[in-house]
């Protein structure tokens, strides 16, 4: 393993966001010092790691000064005041170049923040830069992309898993306090797993996508080094945005405030073993997953076998909808800007050209059916249902393995994650071990009922308390 176990206090850049924010509020740490620490690390490591496409050095320092001044004046600040966040470069940021890692948008400077970015800023967070991704969050990355693909800080011989690859690399490599990305089929949970992070996709609509491109099943989501950090990020990100027809009009609970109060002993955790065992899981993935289940039992959970129908069909349906939506978005541009798209991306985008309205609606109907099955049969509060489902995050450990064209084109790398995009369920990858053969982390995934985001975080937190994975960091 290339990483280091941390028996003493972590260095500043690896401290949990929650602790960094506490010290800033208490006047024990200046935001400027924290931002400068991260900028120094970005300067030192980004040329090799490619985590960021754009870094907003001046903007971040100015924002940090503003936070420090407010605290010095005794003003009340937000829960994320002064902590630097990296945002996936598909999420628009006012006045800061947003490229989607595409030559097509290499000079695009948005006039508005996406609502998620605005909410982070309102909570006091500082956007330090824009993180790398697969072009348009789709396809397979290539050296010919606007920015070359990022490397995994745990072992830079391996590429970072995407599509929120740079967000995973930046959060795990100590190049930001936390990051945000998007998850349309696993693009937060998959990099979460392979970078040793909490990658949490919230319930559909809990975090609005207002201000960025429409996508029915892709959620803006945090990547963090601890569960408490994920809860703090979700507190800031969640909320109703009336302009967004997909935004959930309910009132989010306090995720961080209620994180530690649950007694999870006795919670029934379902494992769809027939489904899990039918995947081409690498042996070290199976080993880590079994260890994960043992840890859940150690905190008092009951592990039960739960047959779940339709997960494969839901995965297929999710990718059909994604294909249709991405093609619709790019159809006109592909005709006139073909040469400005990446060679792999433009071919992936064309898949949707062959789909009919009937195909799209069939897929949506299958997705609704599986969503209903999960709610009424699996997470049922009336029948003896389960509180959460547990599965590996991915059958594969390395990005290289997960991108093999035959399996990638069928979405096998996302066989565990993608079903819960079209069904809308909250789902998170949590650290559950390491691969000795590669030195890369391995994640396992928990999924709960719609709008049980708090239960998901509470279970992940309870699990985190009996492991030390979150205290280990890459040796960079």
């Amino acid at each position: 393993m290339t990483g280091t176990a941390n028996n003493q206090e972590a260095p500043l850049h690896y401290l949990p966001l929650a602790e960094q924010a506490r010290r800033i509020r208490a006047g024990e740490l200046s935001s400027v010092a924290l931002v400068r620490a991260y900028l120094g690390r970005i300067q030192a490591h980004n040329p090799q790691m490619n985590s960021y496409i754009t870094v907003d050095e001046d903007g971040a320092i100015a924002a940090a000064r503003s936070v420090d001044d407010a605290i010095a004046r005794g003003e009340r600040t937000g829960p994320l005041a002064g902590v630097p966040i990296g945002a996936k470069d598909s999420i628009p940021t006012k006045g800061l170049r947003t490229t989607d890692n595409s030559n097509l948008l290499r000079d695009w400077v948005p006039e508005h923040d996406a609502s998620a970015v605005a909410r982070l800023r309102a909570a006091g967070a500082i956007i330090i830069g824009k993180t790398n991704l697969n072009e348009f969050g789709w396809s397979r990355p290539s050296e010919a992309d606007l920015a070359p693909p990022p490397w995994n800080p745990w072992n830079p011989k391996f590429a970072s898993v995407g599509s929120s690859s740079g967000s995973g690399a930046a959060a795990s490599g100590g190049l930001a306090s936390a990051t945000i990305g998007t998850d349309g089929g696993g693009s937060i949970r998959l990099p979460g797993g392979s970078h040793g992070l909490i990658g949490m996709k919230p319930t559909h609509g809990l975090v609005s996508r207002h201000g960025m491109d429409h996508n029915s099943h892709s959620e803006i989501s945090p990547l963090t080094r601890t569960v408490e950090d994920a809860a703090l990020m979700l507190d800031a990100l969640a909320g109703y945005v009336p302009e967004d027809d997909m935004s959930w009009p309910g009132k989010p609970v306090g995720y961080a405030a209620n994180l530690k109060s649950a007694d999870v002993s006795g919670w029934r955790i379902g494992v769809p073993w027939t489904f899990v065992r039918s995947a081409p899981n690498e042996p070290e993935v199976t080993e880590a997953f079994e260890s994960f289940l043992a840890n859940l039992e150690a905190i008092g959970c009951e592990i039960v076998d739960v047959p779940v129908r339709g997960l494969a069909e839901a995965r297929m349906a999710n990718f059909l909808v994604l294909n249709a939506e991405t093609y619709q978005r790019h159809a006109k541009s592909l005709g006139t800007n073909w040469d400005r798209y990446g060679e792999i991306t433009r071919v992936y985008l064309l898949q949707g050209a062959y789909l009919s309205a009937e195909d799209l609606l069939n897929a949506a109907e299958v997705g609704r059916t599986v969503r209903g099955l999960l709610e009424t049969e699996v997470f049922s509060r009336e029948k003896p249902g389960v509180r959460a489902l547990a599965m590996p995050t991915s059958p594969f450990i390395t990005a290289e393995r997960s991108r093999r064209p035959g399996e990638h084109s069928r979405g096998i790398n996302a066989c565990f994650t993608a079903p819960f995009n079209i069904t809308g369920h909250p789902s998170a990858s949590v650290p559950s071990g390491f691969s000795e053969s590669t030195g890369l982390p391995i994640g396992s995934m928990l999924t709960t009922a719609l709008h049980d985001d708090l239960g998901l975080l509470q279970l992940a937190y309870a699990h985190e308390q009996v492991t030390d994975w979150h205290t280990r960091h890459p040796a960079i």
Binding site: F275, S278, A312, Y354, A363, E365, S409
Partner: protein, 69 residues
């Protein structure tokens, strides 16, 4: 979704929309095999009006094959 046909068919059809090459068409052909199979699966599941998707016909495995619980 209609069967996309051969790479040559794809080149002919998409060539009217974008300057696709033979190499692009070959890659797209491979991707469309998976897309076509997925649409066929969805079409089989689509109910006859006024029915609903038969949940018992949904699979239990990653490859959408039947399996006994």
């Amino acid at each position: 979704m209609e069967n996309p046909g051969t790479p040559a068919d794809i080149l002919r059809r998409m060539g009217k929309v974008v300057p696709i090459t033979e190499s692009d068409a070959a890659q797209l052909h491979q991707l469309l095999q998976g897309v076509h199979a997925a649409t066929e699966t969805m079409a089989k599941l689509a109910p006859v009006f006024p029915g609903e998707v038969d949940a018992s016909s949904l699979s239990l495995t990653v490859d959408a094959e039947e399996a006994k619980p």
